[in-house]
Symmetry: D2
Subunit: 354 residues, 4 copies
């Protein structure tokens, strides 16, 4: 910690600060500058109590931590990129993994139709919400357990592993039984009890960034998973809240290189939530692929116009197929690959699971 | 809903939009303007499915809801101010209720000393965190159940009802057993499962505003409590996230008159979290009182310099007493009152509870 | 400056950083901590070139300035409150000065009617826009010079000094001839050429905060005035841009105590621009008075419904009179005063100017 | 305009609103819904006075414009992409144009060295600041006219057209004499007097987005250029202000597809200002190219560590050359091209100008 003292401090006041630094287990190191005296507190900030309470002292102008607060999530602790396995799908390697499916699971027909379509176009993981967090209590809240069962059925039919949102500590057992990848949504990005409960299932976690979460806070939320013995965390950017009103959120693609720099964990982009508009999804995916994202998670609905949630941001199956065709050469140009589509008229060749 | 169509739409395309509006149960009403055709969809937006999915239609430029989404929380539904009772303390009436106590419960000595001091200065409710949501997993997470028991003991000693944060669905029963007012923290402001579980205890709820929550979203979070049969919600502003870095958050005092205009629910201001600096608490409280806040929740610690959390923002008992003396004439000037201090040397006169 | 080095740096790399620090005129002071080496660069940051370019060095993790960048504007440089004189009106003393008048000068009748009304209710300075910055080129841009002449006429009639916005370097001479206080608007808050030109007139400057200006940047904009030999700066908060859409801007009343702490310059609140809604003006003024603002600037129009700009935020003369009556006891409660209304039926008693 | 009335309005009050709508030249069209009455005001919002002042009426709940406020800048008015010519360089066509050069012109040696290097690597326009807007009055403010002359000299040597910032109405003639493309900086993005003065030179304008400018406001600032008879506007995104502190600004790459959708004007990305960090420039450029940007403007300095401004964000000439090599295949993958580097050892082959 670096403690900057107020100017012109009486010696007695300065000694009191130094005594407190020692009391908390640090060795104070004094530097006298032109207009300020600066004290370095030498000691492990992770072992000793924080010195941040010194901010409350009238003698102190500022307190600046020197050590990074995220450890297990940091690139410093783990210089190589991490890869995360979701059943047989590896995220963080040379393949750019595409997850796709409806915002909400609405019916068997809707889900199966979507699942088959996205699998045929090269999606590797099926997304679908069974429990939906909705801003208003009067909006569709998801099919719940019935939705989970439909997702499991879709997995049996298509071979695609399932990612779905975990909303409640009370659902952990049930959701973990059906899902292959647990999503923690933006609204729960600092619901640490839920994050820890999810971590303890041992399943990989897709951790969405909160609407106004700084990158450091996001990495610290991931740290809650890692510190609970689960090393399988995917960091998913899905739009931040800014002053702009043209889109529902502002997709922060700058998060891709920043997270890559600060952390070894794979980065996922959600272009559907990111802008809330289907007509922006394609450009957002192109940016994400070019900038180094490891995976995309895209909303697809057989008939977005009749969707029970977020219709405005979901692609049709045909739109999704076209997007995948559009992205493959771009992935190649950055030295990566996106799974090819199934040959038309052929049965799905991927191995069935369960 | 008001649907604005794209300009120069072929009649066939326009008919398709009108058909969809009818299919969803609304009666379309066409207005042809100079550059745009606008369709009003007549029907109860709370009974029929939302038309927002029309935003996904290429024929449509914009969709604007007309009805307010919050109903039970709205001033329109309930023109008079609501009052909320926390044991014998009434919030939302002529008294400006002050809640005070430490950020975290740290020890019996620390809590009792604080509780007696704030009671003596006129606080009416004791605050104290037993479960603490912390940005980093390596920070102090609270005393848990032991903290709750200390809070209950402090209530027996001082007569002050207890407000403490509920962090987890798993703690509902335990926390509800000891608390008189359940706080839902800013990080859980859209954790609807937790909010509903809290609502069902029947205890009054102090609902903090999320860091980047629009007022409408905050009222909709309150709507989750009200729609679950619990009418006792306090809305607590505690600083929003902006671009400013001088303070940890930016206290949005404009929320006071805005919430008062839109809702009948009482408004509470948290000046301690609001700026994260003890030296700003007094000015923030003065603003809150003058602008119509119904309650304040203030962090007080016998020795803020040694606090295990948020030392920089906690007042000393003496600082709190001075603040209360400072606020009383201001409350009078706006036609309200703050409880007087206990006469020095006298035993506490308020009735003991439990 | 405090320079934190990357961990595990070879000695050669560290020496290169130290050599650069010396080259730029500073004396490096090394502190070896547990996980990082920190270098204090001792020297006057105001005399030597900045070390911030070290951020570009691969050896460097972070660079933190120690000295404050604003000097003449700082409370440290000038511990007592500054008072600013606008003709015979003193801002920053015990009186809370109210400036009032229309958003735009629209006609002689409109201006005179407003000027007389606000003078009668206790306003001490007349506001009115002659040149208007408008988001769209198709909106009313102000009466220009004709507006200035009407303002001067209103001053002759009422004795109230004039505050009006300076929009362009080309208008400096003309506006300075008619105005007593030059407003630099939010959109020009970092138009340093305009600020310097305004400063050089010698007139006092009302410097509005930009929509997304940090307090430090605002003080540095004021520093441009002070460093050009004009010590008469008023800092005016008028709403910042946040994610909230209920109001046009979010009035940041927390700026009042923050600026008071960091600077000696008087603080003005603009409650009309601040929220963009007349129905919030009263609560905003009450907060401002209670929190220590030195002045208010309030938009008043004889018929807001027909205003050529910003009708939604302007008060009627009757509304303004009621507001002033409402604020006086509050000012008294915080130990200050607002000018009393003129006795009805009497001629204005203030001395005529020019 | 769509005017939503308050619920349960007496007929008399409703009639008053209708009368006002008629008075302002619109034809009111009434729709009675379930909970609200909505009035469409039929008429050209660009010909008649705005109805927004109705927001001030107690009878009115909301006023929503239907027509877009930007006209000449809109895609609707001009469906094809515009191309802008800067001397012989065409922006908005198949080529992705790269502008490069130092943040500030510091010396002849520094500028010539940079200009030759960036030309050799495929840059098509030379950037360099002669007048610098600086947050603090104590920072380097640019070489002024001397800088302009050096830029003109660099153009003679390399054939590259010049883009430089116009800071002041007083500099228009001088800057226009030397520059080929006038930059309006972020701080002046709503300095309409400066924008109009720049527009009137007839030179093409590079209009940077303000730090907290909504896309609509940015297009309206461009509208000031277009409405003054100059159709040559480039829209440059350079980072917006958010809550994130890891980077100085948050580069909003989503602006690329949004502007492309709303407007026909070319889009430029500034990855240097965008993040304020050289190590992010490459990823930002890749995103920009993939998402459809028409040009990039990149800061390059022969020795960023010794730069007089913004050293942390400037690339070395070698770094710039590597970046260009990196971007070319990506441009090809999206069907566009970036100019090839000069053959090594050969003289520059582009035609000399002046």
């Amino acid at each position: 910690m670096i403690i900057v003292l107020k100017p012109n401090l009486p010696a007695r006041e300065e000694r009191a600060v130094l005594a407190e630094i020692k009391r908390l287990g640090y060795r104070p190191h004094i530097m006298r500058g032109v207009s300020r005296t600066v004290v370095g507190a030498i000691g492990d900030e992770n072992r000793h109590p924080t010195l941040e309470a010194l901010r409350a002292w009238p003698q102190v102008e500022s307190v600046t931590p020197v050590q990074k607060r995220h450890k297990l999530a940091s690139r410093e602790a783990h210089p190589a990129n991490s890869t995360i396995r979701v059943r047989d799908v590896v995220i963080g390697g040379p393949e750019i993994v595409v997850m796709a499916g409806p915002c909400s699971v609405e019916s068997e027909k809707q889900l199966m139709e979507t699942a088959r379509a996205v699998a045929a176009s090269g999606a590797r993981i099926l997304r679908g919400g069974a429990y939906k967090p909705r801003t208003s209590p009067y909006e569709f809240q998801g099919l719940g357990e019935k939705g989970l069962k439909l997702l499991a059925k879709a997995r049996r039919e298509t071979g695609l592993p399932i990612v779905t949102e975990l909303l409640s500590e009370d659902h952990v057992e049930l959701v973990a039984e059906h899902a292959d990848l647990l999503q923690i949504g933006a609204r729960n990005s600092q619901n640490f009890q839920l994050i820890v409960a999810a971590a303890k299932t041992g399943l990989p976690i897709l951790l969405k960034r909160g609407l106004s979460m700084r990158v450091e806070e996001w990495l610290l939320a991931a740290e809650y998973v890692l510190a609970n013995g689960n090393r399988n965390v995917l960091l998913c950017e899905r739009g931040i809240r800014t002053f702009e009103t043209y889109t529902r959120n502002t997709l922060d693609l700058s998060a891709v290189p920043i997270v890559k720099r600060e952390s070894h964990l794979p980065v996922v982009i959600d272009p559907s939530q990111g802008g809330g508009r289907a007509d922006l999804v394609s450009a957002f995916c192109r940016g994400a692929v070019a900038m180094g994202a490891d995976a995309l998670i895209i909303e697809v609905h057989p008939n977005p116009r009749e969707a029970l949630s977020d219709g405005a941001q979901q692609l049709t199956p045909a739109g999704f197929a076209a997007l995948m065709d559009d992205l493959r050469p771009l992935a190649t140009a950055v030295g990566r690959a996106i799974a090819p589509p199934e040959a038309p008229g052929k049965p799905l060749t991927r191995k069935r699971v369960e």
